[in-house]
C-alpha cells in the first residue's frame, strides 16, 4: 500500500512512514471492529450449509417477520417524506416565533433512547396509560398490534428526512422559487418543478436512512410489540426470539437478511453521495 499525498497533505519522507503507520492502524482496527463482525454474521448463518439457511429463512414465522417489517417500512416511508418536506419547507422558508424550538422538538427523537420512546408510548396508549381508558372504551387497539409498531417507528425515524432536506433548502435559498411565482406559477407547480428537483437527492438520502432505521428498530418496537409469534414480531425481534428458541443458526440467518439490507443501504448512500457532490 503506497500512500500518495493528497493535494493539501504534508511533506514526504518521514511523513510517509507516519502515513503508512496510520493507514495500517486504521485498516487493522476497522477490520477487527467492523468487518469481522459483519463477516461473522454470514459465516454463522451459513455454517450448517445453504439448505439449512434457506430453510430458516423460509420458516413461516421468519417470513411473516420479514413481511411485517416490510409493511412497517412501506407505511412509514411516505409519511416521513411528506412530513420531512413539510417541516423543512416551513423552517427554511418562513420566520415565525418558536421556529428554533420547533426544530429542536423535531430532532428530539434522535436524543431519546428508543427503548425510552417505547416506554413513553406505553404510558400513553397502554390500558393503564393516559389515553388507555378512552381507547378501551372505543375498542381501539394500538399497542401490541400493527398501529403501535408503526407509531413508535415513526417516532424514531421522524427527524431523518427533514434533517437531510433542510440544510439543502436553506443553502439553495428561495430565489428560484420566487422567480417562478412571479412568472405566474402556482404554489404546487413551484414545488413540483423547482423545489423537488433541487432537493431530490437529499430527499432520497433521507428516505434511505429513515427506511434503514425503520427496518432495524429494536428497542422501541420490543416494548410495544407483545411478541406474538407470526403476528407482531418484526425481523429484529424475530432474531432475539430465534436466539431464545435455541435456534442460533436461524437467528443468524434472520440477522443476515438485515445485514444485507444494511449493505444495500450503504451502496445506495454511496451512489447518492456521488450524485450530490
Amino acid at each position: 500500500m503506497t500512500p500518495a499525498a493528497a493535494p493539501a497533505a504534508l511533506a514526504p519522507r518521514q511523513d510517509l512512514r507516519t502515513a503508512n503507520l496510520l493507514i495500517g492502524l486504521a485498516v487493522a482496527l476497522t477490520l477487527f471492529i467492523v468487518v469481522v463482525p459483519l463477516a461473522y454474521i454470514f459465516w454463522r448463518a451459513l455454517s450448517e450449509g445453504f439448505a439449512v439457511f434457506a430453510q430458516n429463512i423460509m420458516a413461516p414465522d421468519t417470513l411473516h417477520a420479514i413481511w411485517l417489517t416490510t409493511v412497517v417500512a412501506v407505511i412509514t416511508l411516505p409519511i416521513n417524506l411528506v412530513i420531512g418536506i413539510s417541516a423543512a419547507w416551513l423552517i427554511a422558508r418562513f420566520t415565525f416565533p418558536g421556529r428554533k424550538l420547533l426544530l429542536t422538538i423535531i430532532e428530539l427523537p434522535f436524543s431519546i433512547s428508543p427503548i425510552i420512546a417505547g416506554v413513553c408510548y406505553l404510558l400513553l396508549y397502554g390500558r393503564q396509560g393516559l389515553l388507555g381508558p378512552a381507547l378501551a372504551a372505543g375498542d381501539i387497539k394500538i399497542l401490541f398490534a400493527l398501529p403501535g409498531i408503526v407509531l413508535v417507528t415513526l417516532f424514531v425515524t421522524s427527524p431523518f428526512v427533514a434533517r437531510e432536506v433542510l440544510p439543502l433548502m436553506q443553502a439553495q435559498g428561495s430565489e428560484q422559487e420566487q422567480a417562478a411565482l412571479t412568472l405566474g406559477a402556482s404554489g404546487w407547480q413551484v414545488f413540483r418543478r423547482v423545489t423537488l428537483p433541487n432537493i431530490r437527492w437529499a430527499l432520497l438520502y433521507g428516505a434511505v436512512l429513515a427506511t434503514a432505521r425503520a427496518v432495524g428498530e429494536f428497542g422501541a418496537v420490543s416494548v410495544v410489540s407483545g411478541a406474538i409469534r407470526g403476528q407482531t414480531n418484526t425481523l429484529p425481534l424475530q432474531i432475539e426470539l430465534l436466539f431464545n428458541d435455541l435456534n442460533i443458526v436461524g437467528a443468524f440467518a434472520a440477522a443476515s437478511t438485515l445485514t444485507l439490507i444494511a449493505l444495500v443501504v450503504l451502496v445506495l448512500k454511496t451512489v447518492i453521495e456521488g450524485r450530490t457532490r
Binding site: 493528497a6 416551513l90 408510548y121
Partner: protein, 285 residues
Amino acid sequence: MSVAAVIEAPTRRQKRVLPGFGLTMGLTLTYVGIIVLLPVIALVLKGAEIGPLRFWEIVTAPRTLAALRLTITAAALATAFNALYGLLMAWVLVRYRFPGRRLLDAMMDIPFALPTAVAGLALTALFSENGWYGAILAPAGISVVYTIWGVAIAMAFTSIPFVVRTVQPILEDLDASQEEAARTLGATPFQIFSRVIFPAILPAYLIGTTIAFARSLGEFGAVIFIAGNLPMKTEVASLLAVIRLEEYDYNGAAAIALTLVAIALVLLALSNWLQAQLTRRRVPA
C-alpha cells in the same frame, strides 16, 4: 447531528411571499404533536405524578445509581475509544490516498445501517468464551461478555460513525495556507497538527464526541445481548427502566426514563451550543 444552530433565519424580505405557510405549519405541528410530543408529555405527566420526594428516592436508590454509573462509565469508555478511532479514521480518510480508501470510508457507516440487535448478536457471539475473539482473550484472563467492557464495546460499535462523520467535512474544508505557512516557519508535523489543525477541527470534534456519548447512553439493542444484566454491576439504566416496567413498577420506570431524557436534552443543548460556536467561527458575522 443537530442542524438547529446552523440554520439562519431567512431575510425579512421573503417573509410570507412563498405559499404553503399555513399548510406546512398545520401539518408539521399536528404530526410533531402527535408522534413526538404527546408520548413525551405522557412520560413527563407520569413523572410529575410520582412527586419530587419519591422521584428523588427512586433515582438515588443504590441500584439506580449503580445503573447510571455503569451507563455513564461505559459510555465514557466507548466515547474515549471513538474519540481516538474517529479522529484517526477522519484523518486517514481525508489526508491520504490509498487503494481501498472508499471501501474503508463506506465501512464507517455500517454501524449506523446495521440494526443494533444484529450488532449485539454478532458481538456477543464473537466475544463469548467460545467465540473467535473470546477464545483469544479468555486465556489472557480478559472476559468481555457480561462485564462493563462488553457494554462499552457494544456502545462503541454503535456510535462509530458520529466522530468520523462530523470531523471529516471540516478536515476536508480546512484551508491549506495556514499549514503551509507553519511549515515554512519550520514547525514540526506534530506542531502543525496540535497548533493549527486541531484547534480548527476542535468544535466539530467536540460535537461528534458529544453525540457519540449521547448515543451510547441510550444504546439498548446491542447492549442487552452482551451485558448480562447483573444488578449493581452490568445493568444499564435503560434496561433498568424496562425491568421496572416488567415488575409493574410504573413510577420507577418513568422516573428512570425521565432522568435519561433529561441527560439527553442537556447533551443536545450542549451540542447545539457547540454548533453555534462553530458557525460563528466559520462565518464571521
